[in-house]
Symmetry: C2
Subunit: 464 residues, 2 copies
């Protein structure tokens, strides 16, 4: 750490309340970055661990006065480098602010601090007879604040939408420490600009989220689950199209490709068979879920499914969904992994998977594809050897080609993981120059010195 | 018109393509304002009627160079003065850009120009076996562009949400004529800031919407409709709470208070009876709508409904909903009207209606309340005599007191009609000073000279 960094850390310790500033090198190092690969980071000069909005405001005001950049952080489970620090910056970890402040059954809203673990909120809602749908893969570790800051998704989205569809109010601390509230507790409201949606998904580049008001929905009916395997990718794709085309609304519609299925089978010996080119996992949670799955089962038969299994029993359903849960752990066993996150129009999923297969074959690298077939959001996962520079270069090339393929299919470079540092250059390709200029103008309006998560989303030159 | 205005109008005619600039005084006067009351407006120097994005861009660039303020406009059916011009400004009417450019059944999206009438889009979606839910009261006149610019609501919102919940992509012309696209065609996407939601509901103060991509949903099941009358307001409120509390999701849940019911009965002789203190109208459009209404009917019985009628027949259902459609026409017959639009948390609807009754009695002025009970968004409508200054003053006072009551009940000053000019001062009361400063900073970043709809939403001093 530079002597300037040591000076700043000492000043922070002097000016901020006791226990708030952590400079222990091991702790600081463990807060330096999220779980992304291929993203740069440096050692921050301190980690600040505020316990209240007032303390967050004090931290931000102090950092503002000292001219120190700051990276706000939830659980650090992100995959895009949206919580990576640079040397000389500070990390602001919201994990101590982990209270559910309110859960109002009549108005179906919850008010939570940003450090509340997402699964904790889901459990609290369930206990109250309600449902908080957002379920990112990291649901047991990630925080509602991190979910809001990245507009996180999950498997629920095909029916329920993403985190942003549930956030109706926010408390925000701005770059200079000023505190504001935006949004509401009502179902509807159009008073002023939709700043809630502007801050949701802005990845800590516009302000720090210190309180979140979310809407809850009625508890779903008992879930019915179906798993179907197919000998061709196209057959699985046709079932997805048929389901969408028939206006059916499953609460989960996931796909695993051949590579992923084989990896899962090697790990868990599910007896899925070598002839399986794709697996579909489908769940319904409406009152007529049985009828929904009857229709899905019929469609699977018409499209030549190899095997179909279904259950209305929760424990059996969990077993049926096991293959999806094991997708990433199974691929991880094959080597180092680089997980992509692209989305295409629903009708282009098969084209995207086919493009990934072509890239995999041409570059001679293993890529497993799994993800949210129901909303066109897939996670092609490149397997490589991080110790081998050539393999690493090929992995990175495959990643770029897949992202480009998604854009060319009318899609987006990130469906739910965010831009962070990983896709900053890709964002600049997805947006037109005027849209990029508007991004920069808004960033500049809210963070004129470019100190909020300066490495993420936009290439902003330091304005100090 | 001033000589400066005449000069500017002549310059516009010279510099813009033929047929685009209209200066006929009668036409210009008819484009000067929307349908709001109690909002100021002046005679614009010209109405520009572009036929394409390129022409909008040319108009905006030219106005920018001439330093002329501009008010973009759909059908002018708004009720908040968000499409009111000032003397010396120009009106940009998007009504000629009325094409549905694309309706993609597989991806369930439509791409439309801003001048498309909302009911036209709904009909086109229906023809394709799909559904575009937004249904503002003015659905037969208003435009999708106007709906997006104001984030319009309607009766569908209790189940489906507001216009903004359906807009996934926009083309925007900025204040200086630059064109940008934002958003996407995919179901999910988190690439960059959510500028779509920032422009939606910004009432023409940040840019001009020239193309809208909306998502469509599967066609609903045949609708089942129920109407119930109650001898007390509280009983009706309890039924609303019971429905919400039971996790039921009607597709329509409207309320009419005693004053409105009596006005409707006088107009249409429905035989509703003097003892009716409130009428509830409830519709379901799920596959199990009959079950839903069975439960609603039971609840109505338990809460002592005076009368309950229901039907699954579309023509009969239309008759049952007639009272809701006649609410405003019936109140209009009583005098001049000033329609408020406030929203409170669902649990406070009865409190809001009671507050309105108290205001009505204390001020000695007739106020009918009707609106969207299912999402807490009500339209208390003050009846007064515009020719009588005292009555007018009282009406304005009642309006202010109702708006204040909504805020005090944890609500918002506008649920769906927008801020416009009518509620600019109320927005400043609802937002905290920091949130207001952020509004101003964003406005300034996108419209540095304050020329886009300068009278609406924010009090912006002229920066020229």
């Amino acid at each position: 750490m530079s002597s300037r960094d040591l000076d700043v850390a000492a000043t922070l310790r002097n000016r901020l309340p006791g226990g708030l500033v952590v400079t222990d090198p091991d702790v600081v190092a463990s807060y330096a970055r999220d779980q992304s690969r291929f993203t740069e980071s440096g050692l921050p000069l301190a980690v600040l661990m505020p316990r209240s909005t007032a303390e967050v405001a004090l931290c931000m005001k102090t950092l503002h006065e000292l001219g120190v950049a700051v990276v706000a952080r939830g659980a650090g489970s992100g995959l895009s480098g949206a919580a990576n620090a640079d040397a000389g910056s500070a990390v602001l970890s919201l994990h101590r602010m982990d209270e559910i402040l309110e859960l109002d059954v009549a108005d179906r809203i919850a008010v939570v601090q940003p450090g509340v673990i997402t699964s904790t909120l889901r459990a609290a809602a369930e206990e109250a007879g309600l449902f908080y749908p957002p379920d990112p893969g990291s649901v047991e570790q990630c925080t509602v604040g991190g979910n809001a800051a990245t507009n996180a998704g999950g498997m629920c989205c095909v029916k329920y939408g993403v985190t942003g569809d549930f956030v109706i109010g926010l408390e925000i601390v701005l770059a200079d420490g000023r505190v504001m509230r935006t949004g509401r507790r009502t179902v509807k409201g159009v008073a002023g600009y939709d700043l809630v949606r502007l801050f949701v998904g802005s990845e800590g580049t516009l302000g720090v989220i210190t309180e979140i008001t979310v809407r809850l929905v009625p508890a779903p009916a008992p879930r019915h689950t179906l798993v179907a395997s197919f000998a061709t990718l196209r057959a699985a794709g046709e079932v997805v199209s048929d389901i969408t085309g028939a206006g059916l609304t499953p609460s989960l519609l996931e796909i695993l490709d051949r590579t992923t299925v084989q990896a899962v089978d090697q790990l868990a010996r599910m007896g899925l068979g070598d002839e399986v080119a794709a697996l579909l996992l489908i769940q319904g949670d409406d009152r007529d879920a049985a009828t929904l799955l009857d229709r899905v089962e019929r469609v699977c038969g018409e499209r030549g499914a190899v095997d179909v299994a279904r259950s209305a029993d929760p424990a059996e359903a969990d077993q049926l969904l096991e293959a999806r849960r094991l997708a990433l752990p199974a691929l991880e066993r094959l080597g180092d992994w680089l997980l992509d996150d692209v989305a295409v129009p629903r009708s282009r999923i098969v084209d995207l998977i086919a493009a990934v297969e072509e890239i995999s074959q041409r570059l001679g690298i293993v890529i497993g594809v799994f993800g949210h077939a129901g909303d066109g959001n897939l996670h092609p996962t490149v397997i490589f050897d991080a110790a081998d520079p050539e393999s690493t270069t090929t992995a990175r090339a495959a990643f770029d080609e897949m992202t480009r393929a998604a854009l060319e299919l009318g899609g987006t470079v990130t469906g739910e993981h965010g831009v962070g540092r990983l896709k900053r250059e890709w964002l600049a390709r997805e947006l037109d120059p005027t849209a990029l200029a508007v991004h920069a103008a808004i960033k500049s309006a809210l963070d004129p010195y470019g100190r909020l998560n300066p490495g993420a989303v936009l290439e902003i030159s330091n304005r100090d």
